[in-house]
Amino acid sequence: MTDFGSMLFVFVLATFIGLGVIRRVSRLLYTPLMSLTNAISAIAVVGSIVVTGADYPRGIRILGAIALFASMTNIVSGFLITDRMLKMFKKQ
């Protein structure tokens, strides 16, 4: 149960930080913001790596590999397209 308590604690604090930081994001950048947060939340990749690479039954590892592929696609395309869009914003 202590697990649950500390995780909930982290979740609540992280949400407050998120709300505070995101509220300050430039309105110009909402589209790149979405692709950036999307890439960041693909941190789910760490879970997929364990499921794919540990000594688990084959069926489970197949699920992990598909998840790993999906997360990795989000990481790669998310960061690349964010940078591509941000490059376009010029003051003059």
């Binding site: 949400t15 930081v21 995101i22 309105r27 979405m34 947060t37 960041i40 790596i49 592929f69 010029k90």
Partner: protein, 467 residues
Amino acid sequence: MHLIGELSAVLATALFIFALYWMNDPKTARRGVIAGVTGMTVAVLETWIQPEIVHHGWIVAAIAAGFLVGVPLSQVPLTAVPQRTALSHAFGGLAAGLVGTAEYFLWLGENSAQLTPFRMSALVIEVILGFLTFTGSLMAAGKLQEVKWIPQRPVTYPGQNLVNLAVLGLAVGLGVALVLHPHAAWGGQAFIAIGALALVFGVLLIIPIGGADMPTVISILNAYAGLAAVAMGFVLNSKLLVTAGALDGSSGLILSIIMCRAMNRSFTNVLFGAFGKAQPAALKGEQKEWKQETVEGAAQLLEQARNVVIIPGYGMAVAQAQHKVRELYDALTKRGVIVKFAIHPVAGRMPGHMNVLLAEANIPYSALVEMDEINPEMPQTDVALVIGANDVVNPAARYNKGTPIYGMPIIDADKAKTVLAVKRSKNPGFAGIDNELYVGDNTWMLFGDAKAVLGDLVKQFGSGGIH
């Protein structure tokens, strides 16, 4: 060893927060990408070197496949960014759903003592959120891409909300049963049923939603994808995952709220209200006539203006007219006309879409002005040039309770001294509502494809506009 893991997780978390923090200004924003990539690399490598990871071939293959698909996906035209974003929410949901399923069956088979009520609840939430985000986002992406077999217009039927609630309720009910009896013989089947119901629910959730609501829907799906990652963090006991998911979730939440406010609608109304149905032909009292203007006349109006506000909508993007807009901007600026762009929060098909499209055309971001800032200036504006925008400039939103856009804040184009509106056809916009701005006393219409009309306009200014 464990210490290194904890430290790298803290480092990655800090980098992610900085990445978002730097997005507060276009000048520092690219630093954010570097921070994000660094954090991600640290987290991936730290996980990969754990001794429990013994099969490296599959990991390499899956990562390579991710690059193979991810790189082309990052090169799509900017008009297609909303679809790409929806697709990435789908992938995020899928990953969460699959990892949840894998973990459940792993624990069920090998170590069912791991299935504590807490962990079981987190698993159920992860799988429901993950799979409904997966199919819901796929549907949204399909609608945005205008895939043929996915209906663009909202699909509604009597009792729709009841059916949707029943499907979700059944999934949640099975989930509760599993939490109460995690070791029951029917556990595996119940778990699969929950996943399947969530997949169905995602589809049902999106089919009644119309195109005009896409900016809100994408934001809500973003929040779901983030929450699915949070649930996965609870399952795997990973603070890093919980934090990153919470950042994504709060971003989706804030964007959803902003989008809803910009349309004067509530979450429940967007999700259960079936917007975008053709409006009953109720308020058709007086039929005023359009007044058409020639390109020559329009060019003269623009040239003689002291200040011009351009109001772009998705029609501009569809016509790929943003580069012609830039040429017009150059030509006018060169002649001393002050040109600004008025950006409505829901213009385009996702939050911030219009800004990205204009930035691509090299229009400086200092010329892009938010609705709330431009509206007080509109009465002093000589010419408001509306390009492919419709509902966001419809004055009916202010007083006509009969229209679905009633109460939605609009850009006060009608208050400008003269309005020029470029419009492809005489049909109403996304929401299917007549726009009285077009028949206003000070409004002049330019009918035609935005790119062609603007091209002709630029030609009127001679070669001055082209560099």
